[in-house]
Symmetry: C2
Subunit: 478 residues, 2 copies
C-alpha cells in the first residue's frame, strides 16, 4: 500500500520524515535547509497562529511589522547577542547591482532593530508599556536541518515589549509563558513543563529566559516556546529611555518571546502513531471527514443527498468538514488515507445508514475497534461536537500519561545516565554551566528548564555533588 | 495644535507623508527604503488581508509558504523575467560565516521557486489545478521609496496556479481580477477600473497582465493589484508538465497575481482630507470612538457608567469600538485626534446625553455640521450599524464621483496632454510600445490599462494617428 509508513517505535526519525511528506505537510526545497510548507501543513500553522494571536490580543498586545534587514552594526551593539548569533547569519552584500557600504543581515531575531525604533517612540513614562508582536520569517544558518523542527528560514511570532520597571517586565515575561502553556495544553493538546532556562541555555542578551518544554513520542524534549526578560541590556545598547514622573531619565526594561513553526513539528511528534498523524480537533484543518459508501448509481444518488445535508449541517455549526467523494478510490483506501492525515473523526454513510437513520463514526484517537460507534442521524451535530471535545481531551491525556511515565527522579548520577537514555530526569542540580557541559558531554542530555513551582530544598547536585537548591529537567533534546 | 497637517490640496505629497506618520500608520526605518508598519497601520493591513483571504478561500484557493531565498540560476531560466528583475535584486553572498557557492536572491516574487516545486507535485491531469496563495514579504531594490507605496521590502500575497488548459488559466486570471475589484469597491470603498496592461507595462514573463487601477486624491493613478496569465512560459522553464487523459505529456498553463501593502497607501490617498484619514468602516481598526465628557468626579462616574455599557453593547454586536478616557486631553483635542486618525464615527456622551437618554454622534465622512446627529440611547446599536453602512457607501460614492469627474475623453493629442496634467484620459490608442514611450516622454503619463468591457470600434490612435481598435486609460501614476 502506498500509505505504509516506517514504524514509529523502531525508527522515530524515519517515521517523522515520512509522515511530514506523505501527509503533504511540508517538502524539501531546492535551497538547502529551507522548507516548503504545503497547504495542509500551513493550515495547521494558521490554527497555531490563530490560537496565539487571539491570546496576545486579549492580553493587550498589538501586531506590527519591522524590516527584514538589519544593519550589521546593530547586532554588534549588544555583545552577548552578536556572539550568540554571528555564526548563524545570512548576509546581503549586494543590492540593486551594487556592493553595499554596510552589509545587511537577514534578521535572525529583531531585538536590535525594534530597540532602535522604540528609542524614537518612547519619551515619557506615558508612552509605556509598548506591547508589540510581529508575525514574520527569520533566518538562522543551520547545518543540520529537519522539516519544521530546525530550518534555516522559519516562520514565527516575536513579541517585543518595553516597560517602566523590572517588575512589570518580569510579569510580562511570565504572563506570556502562561499563555504559551495554555495554548499548548488546550489547543495543541500538548502538556508542557514550564520553567527557567539555565545560564548555558538562555537567550543571548537576556537576563533570564523561560521556556515551555514538551516530550515528543521518542521521549526527547522539544523547546516549544521561549519568553525572555531582557533586563535593560537592549535598552542601554539602543538608548531606549524615558522621563519618569520626577522628570528623571530611566532606561526601559524589555522582554521578548517567540513561538515558531516548530510547534507544528511538536504536534506531529507528540500525537502521531504508526498509522500517521493524529491531530487535535482544535487545530485540525479538517475535523471531520465524511466517506460516502455505495454501489451503483441509485445508491450513489441516495447516499450523496444524505451526505450533502449532513456536511451542510456540520459546517453551519462551525465544524470543519470535508466530503471525500473521489471516485477513483475505495472506501478502505480512503479510511487509511485520512487516518494517515490525522483527521480526528471519520463518518461513514452507506445505504444501510441512510435507511436506518444512522451514521457510522470512527475516532482517530482510539484503537480501531474501540473507536467505532453508530450515531443517530437526528442530533448528530451535537454528538459530533461532543466526540471532538472528547478526542481533544483524550489526546491531551494520552500525551500527559506518556510524559509522566517517562519522567524519573534519579537517586544518583548512574541512574541519571540511564534515565536520560530513554526519558527525562528531574534532578537536583548546582546550576553551574561547567557542570552542565560535563553532563551533556557524558550523556548528550541538557537541562531543559528549572520549574517555577517546585518545593524548596537543599540537596546535592546530581553530577558534581555541590550544593543544589533547585531541581531541573534534563533530557536529550531536539 | 500638534495635529495640524499640510494642506492636501496644496501639497498632496507632503500631506501624505505627514498623515502616515502622525496617524502612526508607519515610520521610516534605519535601513534605507524599508518601512516599519506601526500597529494602527498593521491593523489596516490585517483588514485588507482578511478581506482578500476570505475571497481566495471561498474560490477554492489554499495558503502555503515557499522559501525566502531563490538560487540566482532559477531567475535566469526565464529570459524576460530575469531581465525585468535583475536591477532590483538583493543578494545574499555569505551564510554561516562562509562565502556561498551560488548566491541566493531574496525573492522579488516567487514564480521561479514555486514553478520548481510544482514540477515535482504535478504528474497527471488529476493533480490539476493547483490553486495556491502565499502571504509573504518580498524585496525589490528601489531607489525612490515612499511609505506603503513603494518600499524596498513590502508585504503582499502572491497567488500561483497551474492548469491543464489556456482557457482555465485565463478564467482564473480574470476571476481573481474580479475578486480584487470586489474587495476594492466593497471593503476599501475604492472604485477601480479593470483592464489589461499594455505590452510595456506587463509583468516580465507573462503572456497578459491585468490590473485594477484607482484614482488617488491628487488624480494620479495607482495600480492596486495585478493578475497575470503566464501562459506556458514558466512551465516550460521549470518543466511543469502533466500526462493528459490520452497519456500524452503537456506543459501546464500558469497564473500569478498579487496585492500588496500598497493597498493601505491607496486607502489613505483616496479617502483622506485636510483633517487627516477617513477610513472605510469595513477596514477601519476602530469603527467607533466614544469620547466621555464630564466635569468633576460625580459627572465622571455617571458618564463612565453609561459609556461602559454603551461600549459593551456595541462590542457584543461586533462593532470595533474604543473608549477614549485619557484624562490628560480635552474633548476638543480628542475630537481632532480621532478625526486625524480617520475613525468613521464618533459618539459623545456627557451628563446631558445621559439625562436625556441620548448619544451625540459625528460622522467622519461628512462636513462637520452636517455629520452631527443625536441618537436615542435605546436602539443605538442598530442605528450605529446603519450609520457605519451609510458611511461605507458614502466614501465609495464620493471617490467614484471624484474619479469620474476627472476622467475625460480627449478629441486630440493637444487635449490629451492637458487632461493628463490633472486627470485621466480615456483614449483610442494603437497599442504600440514605442508610441507609449513617446507619450510618457512628452506627458509623464503611461497607459494604466485597457478596459475589458468597452465598445468595439476602429478609430485613430490619439498620439500617432495609426489604426486603433481599443481605448486605454492614460494617467500619471505612482
Amino acid at each position: 500500500m502506498a500509505q505504509r509508513l516506517a514504524s514509529r517505535g523502531r525508527d522515530f526519525s524515519a517515521w517523522y520524515n515520512e509522515i511530514v511528506q506523505k501527509a503533504e505537510l511540508a517538502d524539501y526545497s531546492p535551497v538547502r535547509g529551507c522548507m516548503v510548507i504545503r497547504p495542509y501543513g500551513y493550515e495547521l500553522w494558521e490554527a497555531v497562529k490563530g490560537g496565539l494571536d487571539r491570546r496576545f490580543k486579549e492580553t493587550g498586545h498589538e501586531n506590527a511589522y519591522f524590516p527584514l534587514f538589519i544593519p550589521m552594526s546593530f547586532l554588534e551593539r549588544e555583545s552577548e547577542h552578536v556572539e550568540g548569533f554571528s555564526p548563524q547569519l545570512a548576509v546581503v552584500t549586494h543590492g540593486g547591482g551594487k556592493t553595499l557600504e554596510e552589509p545587511l543581515v537577514v534578521r535572525p531575531t529583531s531585538e536590535t532593530i525594534i530597540g532602535h525604533m522604540y528609542a524614537q517612540w518612547v519619551q515619557s513614562y506615558r508612552d509605556l508599556p509598548i506591547l508589540i508582536n510581529q508575525w514574520a520569517n527569520v533566518v538562522r544558518w543551520e547545518l543540520r536541518t529537519r522539516l519544521f523542527l530546525r530550518t534555516m528560514e522559519f516562520l514565527w511570532q516575536e513579541g517585543h515589549t518595553v516597560h517602566a520597571t523590572y517588575e512589570e517586565a518580569e510579569e510580562e515575561t511570565l504572563n506570556i509563558l502562561g499563555q504559551y502553556a495554555d495554548f499548548a495544553a488546550n489547543d495543541a493538546a500538548i502538556p508542557v513543563v514550564v520553567g527557567r532556562k539555565s545560564e548555558a541555555e538562555k537567550f543571548p542578551g537576556a537576563l533570564f529566559s523561560y521556556s515551555i518544554e514538551a516530550m515528543m513520542g521518542d521521549k526527547r524534549a522539544l523547546q516549544a516556546g521561549t519568553s525572555h526578560n531582557l533586563g535593560q541590556n537592549f535598552a542601554k545598547a539602543f538608548e531606549v529611555s524615558y522621563l519618569d514622573q520626577n522628570n528623571e531619565m530611566q532606561y526601559c526594561w524589555g522582554t521578548s518571546w517567540g513561538v515558531s513553526t516548530r510547534m507544528v513539528g511538536a504536534i506531529i511528534m507528540v500525537h502521531g502513531d504508526d498509522q500517521g498523524l493524529r491531530l487535535p480537533p482544535v487545530v485540525a484543518p479538517i475535523q471531520v471527514v465524511i466517506v460516502p459508501i455505495h454501489r451503483g448509481e441509485e445508491e450513489r444518488r441516495v447516499v450523496a443527498e444524505s451526505v450533502t445535508s449532513l456536511a451542510a449541517e456540520l459546517k453551519d455549526s462551525g465544524v470543519r468538514v470535508h466530503i471525500d467523494d473521489r471516485a477513483e478510490y475505495t472506501p478502505g483506501w480512503k479510511f487509511n488515507d485520512w487516518e494517515m492525515r490525522g483527521v480526528p473523526l471519520r463518518l461513514e454513510v452507506g445505504p444501510r445508514e441512510v435507511a436506518g437513520g444512522q451514521v457510522a463514526s470512527a475516532r482517530r484517537d482510539a484503537a480501531r475497534k474501540s473507536g467505532k460507534k453508530p450515531l443517530l442521524r437526528r442530533g448528530v451535530v451535537s454528538e459530533v461536537k461532543q466526540l471532538l471535545s472528547e478526542i481533544q481531551q483524550s489526546l491531551h491525556d494520552q500525551a500527559l500519561a506518556f510524559r509522566d511515565s517517562h519522567i524519573h527522579e534519579p537517586a544518583d548520577y548512574e541512574e541519571f545516565k540511564e534515565i536520560v537514555q530513554d526519558g527525562w530526569a528531574y534532578a537536583w542540580w548546582c546550576g553551574n554551566p561547567e557542570c552542565e557541559a560535563s553532563i551533556q558531554e557524558e550523556t548528550k542530555a541538557t537541562s531543559r528548564n528549572i520549574p517555577l513551582d517546585q518545593e524548596a530544598g537543599e540537596e546535592k547536585c546530581i553530577h558534581c555533588g555541590e550544593k543544589a537548591v533547585e531541581r531541573a529537567y534534563f533530557a536529550r533534546a531536539y
